[in-house]
Subunit: 524 residues, 2 copies
C-alpha cells in the first residue's frame, strides 16, 4: 500500500503513472494503482471535467472507476484490483487531454497483512476478502483527522496498542461541546468559518485524510468513514449544503477514497439529527455512493433517535445507535431478525464521566454491553468520554485512552479470535439469549450481572447427540482470566429441547458478576 502512495507523490503532475516506468506496472491485488494524467487547470476542473476509466481483467471482469481532480492540472484514477492478473484500462473524459488514455497493470498476489477489504460473510458476520475472519470491535474518534499533527499521531500510537479494528471517523470537522477548535484544513476552497465555494474542493484536505486512512490500514484498522454529520449546526455549513453540493461532494470523496481497501461508508452519524435533510435525501445519497463506488465497500448509516430502514438493499449492514438494546442480548438479537444483515451497535453509550447520560457508563457497563452484543450474534462499538482539561476526549478527538474497558475488550477480542470462523450465532435465540456459538461445536454462555455459584450444564438440542463430550472454561470477563474446569461433560437428551450432562452435573462458578463459559466439543 505504502509504496503506491509514494508512487503517486513521485509521479505527481506526470503522465499516467503506469506508463512512467516503461515496464508494465505492478500493484498488489487490493492495493492501489493510480493512473495519473495531466489535464486542464483552467476554469473549474472539479465541475467542468468528467473523468473515469474502464478497467477489465482477462476474464473480462469490468469496473468503471471514477477519477478525480487533484489540483494543479493533475487528474487521478485510483484503482484497486479486486483480483490478481493483468488489468487493462481506457479512460473517458469530456476533456480531450484525458480521453482515450489506455494502459495496463499486473495485479500481483497480496502479501503481508493484505487480506483485502472486509465483506459480509454468513449473513450476520464479516471476513476479509481472502477469507480471514474479521470480527469488528470498533471505537470512535469522530474528528481525529481534524486535529493538530501531534494529536493525530498520538491517536495512532494509542490505536496501535488498543484492541479496536474499526474506527468511526468523520470527513468533516466537528463543532460540539469540547470541540471548538478550527481544523488545520478544510474540504472546500473558501474562507473559514462559513464562506465556502462548494464547487471547489481542497485537494490538500483530502490528501491528508487519505494519509490517515492509510495509517489506519497499516494498523489493521478499518476506517468507517462518516460522510456527513450534524455536529456543525451551520458553523461551517457542511451539514446543510444543497442537494447538488452534497451529491458532488459524495462523488468526489468516493472517487478519492474507495480504492483504499479499509474504507467503509457511513453515510452519516445521527442522520436524523440533520434537520435540513429529509429521509428521501438519504435514500438519494446512499444511491449516489453506491453508484459511484466501483468496489461495493461496506455501507451503512447511523441513527440518532430514528432508525434508518436498514432493509435498504444498498446497505450492507445495520449501524445502530441504541445503548438500551446493548444492555441485554435478548434485545440486541431482535435486530438480526428485522434486518437479516450484520448488526453493528456503533454506539452503545460511552465509558466516561461527562454529565450527559450518553457519556458516563462505567467501564464495567461498557464491557458488559460488548459481551451482550457478542452473545446476541451482533457486534459492539466502544467509545470513551472522560473529561479533560485540554478538551481532548477520545470519543471525538482521539489522543490517549483513559478508561478501564479497552483492556477487557482486548480480552473479548482475543476470545473471539479463537472462536469458530463461521461466526458466533445465537443457538436458540428466543429461549436462551445468553448462549451463542456454533451448535454442536462451540458455545459461549454469558451471565452478565448475575453472580451464580453454579450453572447446571445444559445445551439447546441443535446438532447434539447422546455421548457428545465437552470441555468447559470459566472466563472472568472483567479480571481477564480463563479457568479450565477439570472434568468433561458428556451429554444426554433430557427433553425435546435440551441436552444435559448425563450425570446431571453443574459447572462451579465464583459467585461474581461478569462471568462467561466457553464450552468446546472434544473430538472423539
Amino acid at each position: 500500500m505504502k509504496q503506491f502512495f509514494g508512487l503517486m507523490v513521485a509521479v505527481a503532475f506526470a503522465l499516467p503513472a503506469c506508463a512512467a516506468a516503461g515496464a508494465t506496472p505492478q500493484c498488489e491485488q487490493w492495493g492501489v494503482h493510480e493512473v495519473v494524467l495531466a489535464g486542464p487547470a483552467d476554469g473549474n476542473p472539479f465541475v467542468d471535467v468528467d473523468l473515469a476509466a474502464d478497467f477489465a481483467d482477462e476474464a473480462n471482469r469490468r469496473l468503471h472507476v471514477p477519477g478525480f481532480y487533484d489540483g494543479e492540472g493533475r487528474y487521478v484514477v485510483r484503482f484497486s484490483p479486486p483480483s490478481a492478473g493483468k488489468w487493462t484500462y481506457r479512460t473517458s473524459s469530456n476533456a480531450p487531454a484525458l480521453h482515450g488514455k489506455s494502459g495496463e497493470l499486473i495485479a500481483t498476489a497480496p502479501t503481508g497483512d493484505n487480506h483485502g477489504p472486509v465483506v459480509v460473510k454468513n449473513g450476520f458476520h464479516f471476513a476479509y476478502a481472502d477469507g480471514t475472519p474479521y470480527r469488528p470491535i470498533g471505537t470512535t474518534c469522530y474528528a481525529w483527522t481534524s486535529q493538530p499533527t501531534e494529536l493525530e499521531e498520538a491517536t495512532l500510537r494509542t490505536l496501535a496498542e488498543a484492541p479496536f479494528n474499526k474506527l468511526r471517523m468523520c470527513v468533516f470537522p466537528k463543532r460540539y461541546k469540547w470541540n471548538e477548535n478550527e481544523p488545520p484544513l478544510y474540504a472546500f476552497e473558501g474562507e473559514a468559518p462559513d464562506r465556502w465555494d462548494f464547487r471547489r474542493f481542497n485537494p490538500a484536505f483530502f490528501q491528508h485524510l487519505e494519509r490517515r486512512i492509510v495509517d489506519l490500514q497499516k494498523l489493521g484498522i478499518e476506517a468507517d468513514v462518516i460522510l456527513l454529520h450534524p455536529y456543525d449546526e451551520g458553523h461551517w455549513g457542511f451539514d446543510r449544503m444543497s442537494d447538488e453540493a452534497d451529491d458532488r461532494y459524495l462523488r468526489y470523496v468516493v472517487a478519492r477514497l474507495a480504492a483504499y481497501r479499509n474504507v467503509w461508508w457511513s453515510l452519516a452519524n445521527e442522520y436524523d439529527f440533520m434537520l435540513e435533510k429529509q429521509e428521501s435525501d438519504w435514500d438519494r445519497m446512499i444511491e449516489v455512493v453506491d453508484r459511484t463506488d466501483p468496489y461495493d465497500r461496506l455501507t451503512s448509516i447511523h441513527n440518532g433517535r430514528v432508525l434508518y430502514n436498514h432493509t435498504n438493499p444498498r446497505l450492507t449492514h445495520a449501524s445502530i445507535q441504541n445503548g438500551s438494546a446493548a444492555e441485554e442480548a435478548g434485545r440486541a438479537v431482535l435486530y438480526r431478525d428485522a434486518y437479516r444483515k450484520p448488526i453493528l451497535f456503533d454506539e452503545i453509550k460511552y465509558e466516561g464521566d461527562i454529565p450527559s447520560r450518553w457519556g458516563n457508563l462505567s467501564a464495567e457497563e461498557m464491557v458488559h454491553r460488548c459481551w451482550e452484543c457478542i452473545v446476541a450474534g451482533t457486534y459492539p462499538g466502544h467509545g470513551e468520554c472522560y473529561l479533560a482539561d485540554d478538551d481532548v476526549l477520545w470519543w471525538a478527538k482521539g489522543g490517549t485512552l483513559k478508561g478501564e474497558s479497552p483492556a477487557r475488550i482486548k480480552f473479548l477480542a482475543e476470545t473471539l479470535s479463537i472462536a469458530p470462523e463461521a461466526g458466533l450465532e445465537p443457538i436458540d435465540r428466543l429461549q436462551y439469549p445468553n448462549i451463542v456459538g456454533q451448535p454442536g461445536e462451540y458455545y459461549l454462555v454469558y451471565f452478565g450481572k448475575e453472580a451464580p455459584r453454579e450453572w447446571k450444564f445444559f445445551l439447546p438440542r441443535y446438532e447434539l447427540k447422546d455421548g457428545d463430550t465437552f470441555s468447559v472454561e470459566v472466563l472472568d470477563t472483567w479480571n481477564m482470566t480463563v479457568t479450565p474446569i477439570d472434568e468433561t461433560f458428556v451429554v444426554r437428551r433430557e427433553s425435546e429441547y435440551v441436552f444435559v450432562d448425563k450425570v446431571g452435573r453443574s459447572v462451579p462458578l465464583p459467585g461474581k458478576p461478569w462471568q462467561a463459559l466457553r464450552i468446546t466439543k472434544i473430538a472423539q
Copy 2:
C-alpha cells in the same frame, strides 16, 4: 349489517338487489350492499367469468369492486360504502349478461355499534374509521369455523363474555396435534381429503365463513383472517397449491370478504413454515390481496422463525410471533423503531399445559407479557392451550376458556379503555422501557416481576414544567384492583432528563409482583 345479509338471501338468483325494490336501496356507511346478478352457470364460471363494478360517489370518489360467482348462476358484487351519500355503479364483465349493469344506492349514516373498519392511527395505534379508539387485544381460535355447529356457537358465547376484540382465524381447516377432525365443509369442489378441483370453489363453505365473520362483527370482534397456513402438510394440500391456484383463491376470498368492515388480512400464520413457498411468493400474494381489495383492509403476515420484512409498504402493521420479545418491554419496543408501524404480538406463546414450550405459560406470565407489550407501545395477543379429553383446545378450536388470564386481560382492556385516545407511547423508550403514556398528561409505569415496596416518584422530562401536579393510582394487574394514593405529586425539574416530586416523595407499593401505576395530570 344483518339486514343486508338477509337481503342477499332474499334476492338470491334475482336481478340486481338494489333494483329489486323499485326505490333507491339504502345501506349504512361501512355496511354491505350487494349487487346480485343472474349470469351463466355453464362451463366454469369461477374461472371463465370476470365481474367487477365501478362505484362512484357524488364527489367522484371511485372504487373498483371485484365480484364473485356464488354458484347456480348467481353473481354478486359486495360493496361497503366508505362514505355516506349517493353511490352509483356500473358493472363490467366478459359475460354479456353481467356487463354494463348500472344502479345506485344511498349510503346512510352509521348507527349503533357501526364505527367503521379499523385503520391505523398515529403511526403505532388504531382507531375505527369514525375516530373511536380501538386497542387490539386479540386471541386465536385458528380453526373455529371448521368445527361442528354446536362448538362454533359455544365459541361465540365464550367470545361474547371475553375481553378480546380481535380473533385470529384461518380460512382453511387445521391438521395438527389435537386437530384431526375433518371439517364440515371444504373451500373447493372435490373429494376429501385431497382430490380437489382448485378451479371450482364451494360457495357453501364461504357462505358459512361469512356468517361467522358477521357473528364476530356483532360481538365487536375484528376477524383477523388467516388466508394460508402450514398446518396441513399435504393432508388436504391447501398449503401447496400452485401459484395460479393461490392467486385465484386469494382473489376469490378477497372479493367475497373484503366488504365486511371487521375483516383484516393475515396472509399466513407462520408463513415461513410453508416450505413449498418462497419469500417472493409471499411478496406476490400480498400484492394480489392489496390489488384486489378495494377497501385497503389492514394487512399483515405472521412468522414462524423468520420475520417477514414488515417494512413492505403494502403491510399496514407488523404481526409478530415472538414470545421472547414480549417478556420485556425493552425488547418489544425495538420493533417499533424497525418497522414504524403498529406492532401486534400475535403470538407470545399460550397460556396452557401442553408439553411444548410454546403452549404452557402460566396465567401470570401471559398477563405479564400482555402488560409488557402495552408498556412498550405495542399490542399483545392472547392464546390458550389447555389439554382436554375432547381435544378442544381454545387455541385452535375455540369452545370455552379455561385459563385465569382472560379476566386479568379484561382488567387490562378496561385500563386501556380510559387511557388517552391518542395511544400509549413510550415516554423515553431507551431509558425507561417500563413507562408508557402521553407525555405531560398520563403515564402507566409497570413493575412486572419486581416487587418494590416504594417507587421514588419521577417522570421523564418531556412536556413537563415545574409545578405540574399528578394523581397516582396503584393497579394490581393480577388481583385487578385500583388503589388511589391519597396525596398528589407536584413535580420539579431535577436534571436534564427527569422531574421528581418537589419534596422527594415516593409512592408506596405492596411489595408484590404485577403492580403498575397510573399517573394522571390534575388539571389546574
